[in-house]
């Protein structure tokens, strides 16, 4: 790397390790994406070959990771200002913004092409749309402009089970839309619980989260309304017959606990502990709902709507 006439600054030579690039993929978000997409695939009536199914999951995971990298490329300023995100690869100096952009764009194209070639182009289009929606509509536009940012942006995070279903069947129907609705309605109480105890951070970063705009009291009420909606929506798979009694009971119990914690938060005054407890539980809740769908289907394979 010898350029005549001028010295390169020391920082021009990367010291990024592979793990820094891996961190750009937001592995923890990716794991939830992989899991919900997998459940969408398992619930689907027709099935791809096992190898092609595994490749579809990989493509969806890489697509989700690519969206994460594009988010970190654009949001480096916000991430640097917030305690929770200040150690991400760009604010920490391990990876430059341009490197993250190139990495994200390349992996987006790779993931969409692989899903299109080895599953189908409906699934690939949905994946491309989800990446676009997250990176452009949510990250570049909504996040900095409206307290409804994560409400609308939640559509991107809710798409993976739909993509998984589409990869299997090449079509869409009511079941993946119900899964979409569960994740979509879950997103606001999940992020607003976090925003309630991180509102100082969000204010410093200039992100208009609901607690900073409408105030904590209004946010708590809205969290409770969404908690009601997600608890009710999570009963739909049993009501519509594509999940059984066991799932219905599990969803009811999990939903009641979600409501209890949202109620505790609603009644709380200034105490941030209930918000932390709701946030922690919300992650467990989504995982448990999809795990219940998955386990029931694997144990009782005959409960299809089609039958």
């Amino acid at each position: 790397m010898a350029f005549a006439e001028h010295d390169l600054p020391a920082s021009a030579i990367s010291t990024a390790m592979p793990r820094d690039y891996f961190a750009l993929l937001k592995p923890r978000v990716m794991s939830l994406v992989v899991f919900t997409a997998l459940v969408g695939m398992v619930l689907a009536p027709s099935h791809l070959d096992a190898v092609l199914s595994a490749i579809s999951i990989l493509a969806i995971a890489v697509g989700a990771g690519a969206a994460g990298a594009l988010n970190m490329w654009f949001d480096a300023d916000i991430d640097a200002a917030m305690a929770r995100t200040s150690r991400r690869p760009i604010p920490s100096g391990a990876v430059t913004r341009r490197e993250a952009l190139g990495f994200g764009l390349f992996l987006s194209g790779f993931a969409v092409a692989v899903l299109g070639l080895f599953a189908n182009w409906l699934a690939a289009s949905l994946l491309a749309f989800a990446i676009f929606f997250y990176a452009v509509v949510y990250t570049m536009w909504l996040k900095r402009s409206t307290p409804q940012n994560i409400v609308i942006g939640g559509a991107a995070g809710a798409l993976p089970p739909v993509i998984g279903w589409a990869a299997m069947t090449g079509s869409l129907s009511i079941e993946p839309l119900v899964l979409f609705a569960i994740v979509f309605l879950w997103t606001p109480p999940h992020f607003w619980a976090l925003a309630l105890y991180s509102s100082v951070d969000y204010r410093r970063a200039g992100v208009p989260m609901m607690p900073n705009i409408a105030g904590p009291a209004s946010t708590r009420r809205q969290i409770f309304v969404y908690a009601l909606a997600v608890a009710a929506c999570a009963l739909l798979p049993a009501a519509l017959g594509f999940a059984g009694i066991a799932y219905g009971v599990a969803a009811a119990l999990l939903g009641l606990e979600f409501l209890r914690r949202a109620w505790r938060l609603l009644r709380a005054d200034r105490d941030l502990a209930p918000a932390r407890r709701l946030f922690g539980y919300s992650i467990f809740y989504l995982f448990a709902i999809f795990a219940a769908l998955l386990i029931e289907r694997l144990l009782v394979p005959a409960t299809g709507v089609a039958s």
Binding site: D7, S14, A16
Partner: protein, 51 residues
Amino acid sequence: MKPERVELTEREKKARSARNIAIALALAAFVILLYVATWAKLGANILNRPL
């Protein structure tokens, strides 16, 4: 004219070599993925082509 050179530090060399290995592994994985996926998608039809 003597070319100007940038001497890499130990840390930079180590990071570059780690990245190179990661890229090599990713490329190898991609080759295997295309091979396996092509068999899974086409099966015996791989041989069924106009000559």
